[in-house]
Symmetry: C2
Subunit: 120 residues, 2 copies
DNA sequence: CAGAATCCTATACGATACTG
DNA sequence: CAGTATCGTATAGGATTCTG
């Protein structure tokens, strides 16, 4: 007979709250200031650097580059460089990135829809 | 005939990437360094300060207080103070918090399960 | 166009000490 | 027990400039 709190224990292995749990690293990348926004912006889309820069309003060159490198390093984002002049670079989600964004999107949508009630 | 990118537009109202969109504030609270961890720790549980402190390994007094105040201010967390000595304070999710965590949990679970492949 | 490099600042964060 | 207060630092993050 499951006690309170067991939903968590059923879903999660032990030790997920440990300081050295590898999930903390990934969580930090995804939940970084611009991580969620960039990932959601790439949902079902292929965007160039400049498009991404314009879409995610307020992000600086430095942070966009840093965020994209981090997400690329984790295998969420694919960077496609066309060897032309002027440079043409396209960003898109990898299969793993699509898995992640599929879970991110309901959360993001809920926050968007409820934000006004929450902070207003 | 929906083009690529329309899944996003179907789910989300316009302007969600605008710098002054209120969702940014809520998103920042939830995805703060300790926000997700505290929220998930409270899933289906009522925890006292010291239990929360021990559960979310590595969090400092200051950050736990700050995170809880932020989440309480957004209406995700309920703070129940028993007027006894020594003090007894219990933290739990509000209905709104439970809505949020219901969406957070699949994401968190996926990250935990895949973290090893991603950073390993 | 797509960044890298540099510089600078705000603040997020942690450690410690203290208190009703 | 459940915090607050103070202090110090690291680093996240922004503005600007430069380049293949």
């Amino acid at each position: 007979m499951p006690a309170s709190g067991d939903r968590l224990r059923q879903l999660l292995p032990g030790g997920v709250f440990e300081a050295n749990c590898p999930s903390r690293v990934v969580l930090d990348h995804v939940t970084s200031k611009w991580g969620v926004l960039v990932l959601v912006a790439l949902d079902d889309r292929v965007l160039r650097w400049s498009e991404l820069r314009r879409t995610v309003e307020g992000v600086s060159d430095k942070m966009l580059a840093q965020t994209l490198r981090s997400l690329e390093g984790d295998g969420f984002v694919h960077r496609d460089v066309r060897p032309v002049i002027p440079p043409h670079v396209e960003y898109s989600l990898t299969p793993r990135g699509r898995e992640l964004v599929a879970l991110l999107l309901p959360l993001f949508t809920w926050i968007v829809e409820n934000a006004h009630d929450i902070v207003g």
